[in-house]
Point group: C2
């Protein structure tokens, strides 16, 4: 099974290791290309990118690798725009921005809350991206058909068996099983996120038993031990996000990398503070403030747009207390290294682990 | 490593599979002895048992097996006894008991809230129990010393790296790493349970890297796949609870077994409803009622004592909506079988899984 799995075959890659398409700037073209060049699948996290930025990043990746790579997008859902709730949050954020000594922009309504998914998808199609992965829902049948007639492989994200079954029915080629350990946004789209917080150890075999597609384990996987564990549970490969955040090629802020490298197993919480959608990150001051905010937090993507300037300014000030520090529950196993070094460590780790459990 | 691990050596067992010491009547002497006779370690869940009941059960186990077995107890902690909170809960429960048509006992103060840990521990010592495991804290140094001079192996339960380090410092012989997937009570004793909900995939390697003792993975492990995954993550063995609940030898109510066998990955929640302490079980009417109760739920073990008669009566009526249905997040993988059949399926599953991930 190692390194040849249903997933390596499907995606045309050497090792069944996918670098997660984390949005927000960490998945630089350098990172994506380095993972693909090392035999995994690099993924551009394009959820927050404008179409032209996507086009530029994809061209940049193609200059750096001739291997398959992926692009990840957020499938939009309906959301409520309550002006009273938005106004209250803007007032609150203005207070923080003033305290941080930054020019407040929170009294302005953002131009747009999120990029157009239709336009982003057009880029994927026009650029013939080898692999398209998505979270937060399922694109419509026409989109999946168009991707397939373009030879693009389509990967959906499930946090429960029900979501996996629906994704399979809609014709995806592989399914990421996102366990509760995973850093960043919960992919949940059918039920409440609380009832969809299933640990990787429990989620993977239950999904693997119910779908015939390759299952990609994610959540808490940081090294060769986690990769072998995932394959044992019935996965055909893994998706790893946090593990790549602290690589040299990652665009994550150096202070963010520092927080990851000094974290412990109990450092993270799931919060709606930064984007309006539940996501796992290292607990900081802004999360604590939102926990006791007492009023409604605007829905995604509104809250994401509202906190954007604050996060950007905090990053400029190297103040991690007001940045989103997405990370999984095993972030403490992170290492500062080049992607090449990290990938060879993973592959060596798999061999060592396989050896250690034999006899 | 398979079947020989640091754990099989420590406990003198053939396979590194521990049946969890679940309190509440499911771990009958038949179950415990059957697991030990099949080469695992059966464990009596004696948390709620009176000393005399324990003595009888231990004798019964010894009549059925000459193999090592374990007994599990709850380490008591300080708790607040707020009579107003207790009175309100008694009034509320009285309403439920009336609706269920059972003789209400909730207007009486329970004789005792919990059995005496000191007396329970004396039985462990006097009976020379081969393995003693515990949750909810750590027994004092004198107790651990007495157990050790009795040749009893001592196993503690950790839900975070911090708890594991403290257990190691206090001299336990092995540590159960209880992932967030696990059914039943959270073993958490240092922080809030919310900040200690770490998935098994993330928890096991982080603990294994920090302690030299054998680590026993638990939470979401139901078959050979989960066992191999645990060994890959660095565990020396596994503890499985839910998987044994639906065995023929288990004392769990037949309707409870039915709920486990028909559950799905999203069936469980963590609740304080039944005992006052957070525990994972299949969501039912009483949990929903406690979610909207609006007043304080008495602390453990008070709430456990208060709901005892209701749970007992509901069981008599085969009404699972008012029984505690402890189960892990992979309960749907359960099978109705004898322990002998289940154990040989686990062992075959390990071999099959090891074979499937090699090549």
């Amino acid at each position: 099974m190692w390194p040849h799995t249903k997933l390596t075959e499907l995606l045309g890659i050497k090792y069944p290791i996918i670098q997660a398409g984390m949005a927000g700037g960490s998945t630089t073209p350098e990172l994506v290309a380095a993972v693909s060049n090392a035999g995994g699948l690099g993924t551009l996290g394009a959820g927050y990118m404008a179409p032209e930025q996507m086009r530029k990043a994809i061209a940049d990746i193609r200059e750096r690798t001739d291997q398959p790579f992926g692009v990840n997008l957020f499938v939009p859902g309906a959301y409520e725009e309550d002006m009273q709730v938005i106004f209250q949050m803007q007032e609150y954020l203005k207070g923080i921005e003033t305290r941080l000594g930054i020019q407040s922009t929170s009294n302005r309504k953002p131009g747009i809350y999120a990029e157009s998914f239709a336009e982003q998808l057009s880029v994927i199609l026009e650029e013939n991206v080898p692999v398209f992965s998505f979270t937060f829902g399922i694109p419509d049948a026409a989109a999946i058909e168009a991707l397939h007639s373009n030879q693009t492989k389509v990967i959906g994200t499930a946090t429960t068996v029900k979501e996996a079954l629906l994704l399979a029915e809609r014709g995806v080629d592989a399914i990421v099983a996102q366990g509760s350990e995973a850093g960043g946004h919960r992919g949940t789209f059918l039920q409440s996120f609380e009832s969809s917080l299933v640990g990787t150890m429990a989620l993977v075999p239950q999904i693997a038993d119910r779908v015939r597609l390759p299952v990609i384990a994610s959540g808490g996987i940081m090294d060769g031990r986690g990769i072998v564990a995932s394959l044992a549970l019935g996965a055909a490969g893994v998706q790893m996000g946090t593990a790549f955040l602290s690589s040299f090629e990652s665009g994550a802020h150096s202070k963010y990398k520092e927080r990851i490298l000094t974290s412990s197993d109990d450092s993270t919480v799931i919060t709606r503070a930064f984007s309006g959608k539940p996501a796992r990150g290292i607990k900081n001051e802004f999360i604590t403030m939102m926990d006791t905010y007492g009023k409604k937090i605007p829905h995604y993507p509104i809250q994401n747009a509202l906190t954007k300037e604050m996060r950007k300014a905090a990053a400029g000030q190297e103040n991690t207390e007001y940045m989103s520090l997405w990370a999984g529950q095993a972030a403490s196993l992170s290492q500062l290294a080049s992607v090449e070094e990290l990938m060879s460590r993973l592959i060596r780790g798999v061999t060592d682990t396989l050896h250690s459990i034999q006899e």
